[in-house]
């Protein structure tokens, strides 16, 4: 199993541009999560999904959108990128509510 994979690894965006961060897991996990980690800070939950077709907002959802059309994929969409969205983005997944979350390697995003 590849686990949780994320693409791209690094991206530079101009203010106002949009992009999609890709996240795929091959562990047949129901739950998937998107976090952002700002320098020197902990993780903040952006969006999560408990299964295909079901998504919900986390702590910091503004400026982002998600979809979950399949169990495997959970893309994060940034519309109208802003410098405040400069961060490292992590995707995670897990089987059930009490089980361990497994993290992807992260996507480093710089908005200039």
């Amino acid at each position: 199993n590849a686990g949780v994979t994320q693409t791209p690894k690094f991206r530079i965006l101009k203010i106002g541009q949009s992009m999609t961060l890709q996240c795929t897991q091959d562990m047949n996990h129901n739950y998937m999560y998107w976090y952002r980690q700002d320098p020197g800070m902990g993780l903040k939950l952006i969006y999560y999904s408990v299964g295909a077709g079901i998504t919900d907002k986390g702590e910091v959802p503004n400026g982002y959108n998600v979809s979950r059309s399949t169990t495997e994929d959970f893309p994060l969409r940034l519309e109208l990128a802003a410098p405040s969205q400069t961060s490292v983005y992590f995707c995670a997944s897990r089987t059930f509510r009490l089980e361990t979350q497994y993290f992807g390697p992260g996507t480093r995003l710089l908005v200039l």
Partner: protein, 113 residues
């Protein structure tokens, strides 16, 4: 609402000495607790978790943590630190009826030779 606090931004310890990284939490229901480690430019790696049962939990790489309900704490410990343990450590808490984890701000562990 659930929250977690890691009161120390950095912990310094000499190699071979015991280490403790502190974590306190707040949840309205029964907690479940995790410790993760992050090495530079990497994702988070799972170390150990507490769901229920024995208050002393053993995890990867010789780490352990003690759940203390009365003090609402879940401190991470290791009897003998290694230089390779130097990394960023995150405590996380969830409620067993909820879908989300809340992460602490992280503690940087520096182990000096």
């Amino acid at each position: 609402a659930q929250s977690v606090a890691q009161p120390e931004d950095q912990v310094n310890v000499a190699e071979g000495n015991p280490l403790t990284v502190k974590c306190t939490y707040s949840v309205s229901g029964n907690p479940y607790l995790f410790w993760y480690v992050q090495y530079p430019n990497r994702g988070l790696q799972f170390l150990l978790k507490y769901i229920s049962g024995d208050n002393l939990v053993k995890g990867s790489y010789g780490f352990e943590a003690e759940f203390n309900k009365s003090q609402t704490s879940f401190h991470l410990k290791k009897p003998s630190a290694l230089v390779s343990d130097s990394a960023l450590y995150f405590c996380a808490v969830g409620e067993n009826a909820g879908n989300m984890l809340t992460f602490g701000g992280g503690t940087r562990l520096m182990v000096k030779p």
